[in-house]
Assembly symmetry: D2
Homo-oligomer: 353 residues x 4
C-alpha cells in the first residue's frame, strides 16, 4: 500500500535508494518457460545508464555500471514460474556534499513535499525520489518484454519532441541506437545544438516520448476502471517528470470532429489509428500508441527564488554540471512501464478468457 508494487497478475515490487547498498526488486507472476538471463535485463539497463550513448550531450556526470544480478526464478536460461528476484549494487555511493543545498527547497523538486509527507527530508522519500529508483523498473520491465516477445508483442519507445522541436517518426526501428533515441536522423543535429545553447543559458529542456506496442492482440483490457489506456496512463504518469499522457490522437482529439477522429473500419483493420489501438479501454489489434510529456529538468544553473527549511526566502544557485534533458534517461523507463502493463493485462486476459 506504499505503492512500491505495480501490477495485478504480473507484479513488480521494487526497493532501493540512490545512496544505499543498491536497488532491486521481485517480479512475481511471470509464467515458467520465458527465456531470461542477466544479459537480457542488462541490455535494457544499459540503455538508461547515465552516460549511455543515447544520452549524448544531455547526459549526466554520475557513472554507474548498473550490473544486475538474478537471485531467483531462473533456471538454465528460462523462468521457472517462481518469483524473480534481482539486485543492482550501487557503486557510486559517495554522498555528495550538498552543503547549504540541504537547507533549501529546490523549485520543481520533491524536497518540500517529502518534508511535508514524512517530516524528514531524506528519510523515506529521499532515495526513492531519485531517478535511480527507475533502475528497478527497467529491470522488471525487461522481464515483461521477454514475456511479450514470446507472444510476438514488441514495445518501442522513442523521442518525438525536444524543447518544442519535433521529430518525424521515419525510422523508429533504429531509434534505440540513435542519439536521444530519435526516430529521425535529421532532427538529431538540431536537438544537439539546442541542448548546447540551452546549457550555455544555464537552462534545461523538456520533450515528448512516444511508446508504441505492435502485435498486441485485440481484446486486452477491462471495460470500466481498468481500461488498458487507464493502466497505461497510470504507468507512464508514475514516472517522475511526466506531466501529460496521451493515447492515439491524444490532445488533438479535442479539436477534431467526430468524422475526422473516427477510424474507418476496413476488412482486417482500420484506415487510421486516432484511437491509438484502444477502443472502450480494450485493445483493437492496431498498434498501441501512447505519448508522455516530460517536463524540463528542474535543476538549472540560473539563480532561483526559493525558501529554506525554516520558510525564509533564500536564493538558490546550484553549481556543477547538470543534465539538460531527462529524455534519454526516461525513454527506457517509459518503455519498461508500458511493457509491465501489457504483460500484466495479457496474463489477466488469459486467466479470465
Amino acid at each position: 500500500m506504499s505503492g512500491n508494487t505495480f501490477g495485478r497478475i504480473f507484479r513488480l515490487t521494487t526497493y532501493g535508494e540512490s545512496h544505499g547498498p543498491g536497488l532491486g526488486g521481485v517480479v512475481d507472476g511471470c509464467p515458467a518457460g520465458v527465456p531470461l538471463d542477466e544479459s537480457v535485463i542488462q541490455r535494457e539497463l544499459d540503455l538508461r545508464r547515465p552516460g549511455s550513448a543515447s544520452a549524448g550531450l544531455a547526459g549526466t556526470a554520475r557513472k554507474e555500471p548498473d550490473t544486475v544480478r538474478l537471485l531467483s526464478g531462473v533456471f538454465e536460461g528460462v523462468t521457472t514460474g517462481t518469483p524473480i528476484g534481482f539486485h543492482i549494487t550501487n557503486e557510486d555511493q559517495r554522498s555528495r556534499d550538498y552543503g547549504d543545498l540541504a537547507k533549501l527547497y529546490r523549485p520543481g523538486h520533491a524536497d518540500i513535499t517529502y518534508d511535508a509527507k514524512y517530516g524528514l527530508r531524506d528519510f523515506r522519500g529521499g532515495g526513492r525520489a531519485s531517478g535511480r529508483e527507475t533502475v528497478s523498473r527497467v529491470a522488471g520491465g525487461a522481464v515483461a518484454l521477454a514475456l511479450l516477445a514470446m507472444h510476438d508483442i514488441e514495445v518501442r519507445a522513442y523521442t518525438v519532441e525536444i524543447g518544442g522541436v519535433p521529430a518525424d517518426v521515419v525510422d523508429p526501428a533504429s531509434a534505440q541506437e540513435r542519439l536521444f533515441f530519435s526516430p529521425d536522423p535529421d532532427v538529431v543535429p538540431a536537438w544537439e545544438s539546442l541542448v548546447h545553447d540551452v546549457r550555455a543559458e544555464g537552462d534545461t529542456l523538456g520533450g515528448i516520448v512516444q511508446v508504441e506496442a505492435t502485435g498486441v492482440p485485440a481484446g486486452l483490457g477491462e471495460p470500466v476502471f481498468d481500461k488498458l489506456d487507464a493502466l497505461l496512463a497510470h504507468a507512464l504518469m508514475s514516472v517522475g517528470a511526466v506531466k501529460a499522457v496521451e493515447v492515439g490522437a491524444g490532445l488533438e482529439a479535442a479539436r477534431l470532429r467526430g468524422s475526422e477522429n473516427n477510424d474507418p473500419i476496413i476488412p482486417g483493420g482500420f484506415h487510421t489509428n486516432h484511437a491509438g489501438g484502444i477502443l472502450g479501454g480494450i485493445s483493437n489489434g492496431q498498434p498501441i500508441v501512447v505519448r508522455a510529456t516530460v517536463k524540463p529538468i528542474p535543476s538549472i544553473a540560473q539563480e532561483q527564488i526559493t525558501i529554506d527549511t525554516n520558510g525564509r526566502p533564500a536564493p538558490l544557485r546550484v553549481g556543477g554540471r547538470h543534465d539538460i534533458c531527462a529524455i534519454p534517461r526516461v525513454v527506457p523507463v517509459l518503455k519498461a512501464m508500458a511493457a509491465l502493463v501489457l504483460a500484466d493485462t495479457l496474463l489477466l486476459q488469459r486467466r479470465m478468457g
Copy 2:
C-alpha cells in the same frame, strides 16, 4: 480483477447495465460520521443526467430520473463506517431496435473490441460500455465529495475548451450552474452556435475538462508507482472518451524551459502552479489541477466506412437525434473520479505523520 472496483482504502465497486434492472455499487472504507443522505448523492447525479440544464443543445434524448436509493451504511444522516450500498433503477429500459446496426461495427465504438474480448457483442461488454455505467461512479464520487468536504477539500470540474474554442477560467465557482459547465459566461454563446452548426453538419465535437481540487493538504500521494498524479491519470483515463490527461502545465511543459516551468517557492506558497499542485507524486498544498481531453462522440449522422460482423465492408448511417458533445455528461464523472482518488489517498495518508 475484472476492474469493477476502484481504490485502496476508500473503494468503490460498481455493477449494472444500461438495459438491465438498474445500476449501483458499494462504497467500502468510508469512515463513520460523514454527513450523507440520498439528497447529497442525488445532487451530483442530477448534474450528469441526460437532459440536465448544463447539457443544453448538446444533450441527449434519453430521459432517466436516475433516482438513487441508499441500501446500507447510513444511519440518521451520517455514515456508520459499514459498506454503503446504493442502487439506481433503470426507468427507460426499452431496448431500442438497433436493426441492422447490430450487425455492424460502429467506428469509434467498442463494438469490435468487445466482440474480440468476449466473443459476444452484447454479453459482458454491452451494458458496461454504455455511458450509463458512469451513474455509479457519480454516486460513489458523491460519497467521496462528502468525506472531502469534512476536511475542507473542494473539488470542481468545468469545461475549458469545446471544439477548439477555449474558455477563460474567470468564474469556475459558478460553472456548475452554467450551460456546458462553463467557467466563462462569454464563451457560452460561441459554444452554442458551434454545437448548432456541427449538428447541422451531422458531426460531433470534443473538448477539454479541467478538474481543480482546493484545500488539499501537502503530503498526499506515494512516491513511486502510486504517485497522486498517476492515480488521477488512471482515474480520469478510465472514463470513456478521454484520450489525454494533463497535470498542471501538462503538454505545455514540454515546450517550457526549466527556468519557466519551475514554480518559484515563496514563504507560505508558490509564485506559479505549473506543477498542478503535485511534486514528486505528492501534493504540495497548492490547488490540484488536472485536465482531461474528451474525444468527439463517435456516433455521427454522416455515412461512415465500416464492416459487418462477418468482416465484409458495409457503409453505416445512424439515424435519429444524437448527442453532439459528451462534455456535459462527462464533467460530473471526471469530478467524481478525482474525488474518489483524493478520498482514498487522504485516508491512506491519515495518521502516517
Copy 3:
C-alpha cells in the same frame, strides 16, 4: 481494505445491516455463460433462513423470507461476465427494544470490541456483527457453486458433531434435507433431545461442521502464502463463531506417526485422505475435506457476569426465546465460503498450464 470484499479473481463484495433496508452484494469476475437466475440463489438462501426445516428445535424466532433480487450481470438465464449485483430486503426490521441490554456488554459477543474499535457500539460494527451479514455470503456463494457445477465440482457441508455427540458420515448426499444437516439419520434423535435438555438448562451448544468438495482437479492453489488450505482457513474462520479449522486429519495429525499420516499413493489415486485433498497447499485430486468448529451461542438464558459501558459490574440476564445452536444457520454459510475460495482458485489457475 475494510474487509468487505473477498477473493482475487472471483470477488464478492457485501453490504447491509440487520436493521437497515436490506443486504446484498456484488460478485465481480464471474465468467460469462454460467447458468444463473434468482431461483438458484434462493435455493441456498432458503437453507440458512431462520426457521428453515434443518434448523429444527435449535432455530430462531425471527422470520425473514430473504427473497433475493438480481440487479445485473445475468441475461436470459446465464451470466454475462459483468458484475452480478443482488439485494435482499429486510422485512423484519423492527428494532427490538434492548432496554438495559444496550448498556451492557454481552459476554461472548462483539459489543465490547466494536466499542473499542469504533467508539460507537452500534455504528459500523453493529449491523455487520449480526449473523444476518452472512445472507450476502450465501448469495455470493450460490454464484460460485453454479460456476463450480459447470466444472463438475460439488461442494457439500454437513454437521459431524453437536455438543460433543458425533455423527457418522454415512449419508452426506442427503444431509441437506435432514434436520441439523446431519449426514447420519441415527444421530438426529440424540441431537434433538440434547437441544431440548440444554434449552431447559438455559444453555447453548456448539459443534463441528465438515465441508467436502468433490471433483476438484489436482493443481489448484499457490505454493507459498496463498495455499489452497490457507485460503480455506481464512474463509471458514471469517464466519462468526468459528474457533478452529482443520484440514483432512486436522488436529489428529499431531498424534499420528509419519507412517500413519502419509497417504500411500496408488495408480490413479491414494489409499487414504489424511491430507484432506491438499499437499503443499495444492489440490491433489482427492476430495477436499475441511472442518470448522462452531462455538456455542453466547446468548444464554442464565444470568451472567459482565460490566456496563461505564465499566461497572452489572449482572446480565437475557430474556426471550433464543437459538440453542448456531450450526443449522452456519452450515450453508461455510459451504458458501468454501465455494467462493474454490471458484476463485479455479479461475486463477485456468490457462496457467
Copy 4:
C-alpha cells in the same frame, strides 16, 4: 497473484529457491523510525536455522549459516519508510543426487501436486515447496516484531505438544532458549526419548505449537471477511505441514456449553480467555492465543507404497539421516507469520481509525 506477497498495508514479498543463489524479500509499508539492523533479523533467523540449539535430536543435517544482508530501507539503525530489501545467500547449494527418488512421488510431499500444477516437477514448485522458503518469512517477520515492540506488543511461540505428549505452559518466557522451544522444562526429557525411539522405528512425529501475543490493543481486525482470527488462520495455515488452526479454546469450544465458553467480563478485563483475545473478529485486549497443528514429517525411513512419474507402483525407501519432527524449525516461522498479521492489522487500524 502467485501468492508470494502477504499483507495489506505492511506487505512482505518473498523470493528464492533452496538450490538457487539465495532467498530474500521486500517489506513494504513499514513506517519510518523503527529500530532495525541486520542483527535484529539475524536473531530470529538463528532460531529456525537447521541445527540450532532448539532443534536438538530432531534437527536436520543441512548446515546453513543463513546470514541476512539488508539492501535498503534502513539508515543509521532505523527504518526510513522505504521498502526494506533483504537477501540470504544459499551456502549449501550442492544438489544432492536424488537418483531414483526423482522418478517417484513421495507420499505426503508436494511432488505429485506440483507435477499436476506445473507439469514440471522441479520448475516453479521445486524450490518454493522447500522448507527453506520460510527463511524469508522469518526475516520479514523480524521486521514486524520490531514494529510491534515499539507498540509494546510481544509475540511468543512455543511447543505445547509433540507426538501426543503435552507440555504444561509453565514458563513460556524462556521457551525460546529451551530445547524444542518447550514452555515446560519437565517435558523435555520425555520428548527427547520419544524422538529417540521414533527415530529408531524409522518414523516421524507431529505436534502442536501455540503462538501468544500480549499487549495487543483492543479494536484490531475487520468485522467481516478480514477478521483478525481469519487473517491469523490464513497466515498459520500457509506454513507447510500445518493441518489445523485453533483460536483460544479452539476445537474444545465445540464441546463446551455457552455458560462454560463465555468469558465473564469484569472491570478491566475478563475472567477467562476461551475467546483467545478475539471477539467478532476484533481484538478484545486480552492476549491473542492461537495454535497450529503440525503434521509428522512425511519423509520416513520405512518403506512406503507409492508410484513413479509414469503412474506405476514403485516402493519408496529413503535413506540417509532425516528430521524426526518439524516443530523446532516451524516455531519461529509461526511466530513470524503471526507478527506479520498483527503489524499489518495495527497499521491498517491506525489508518482507518
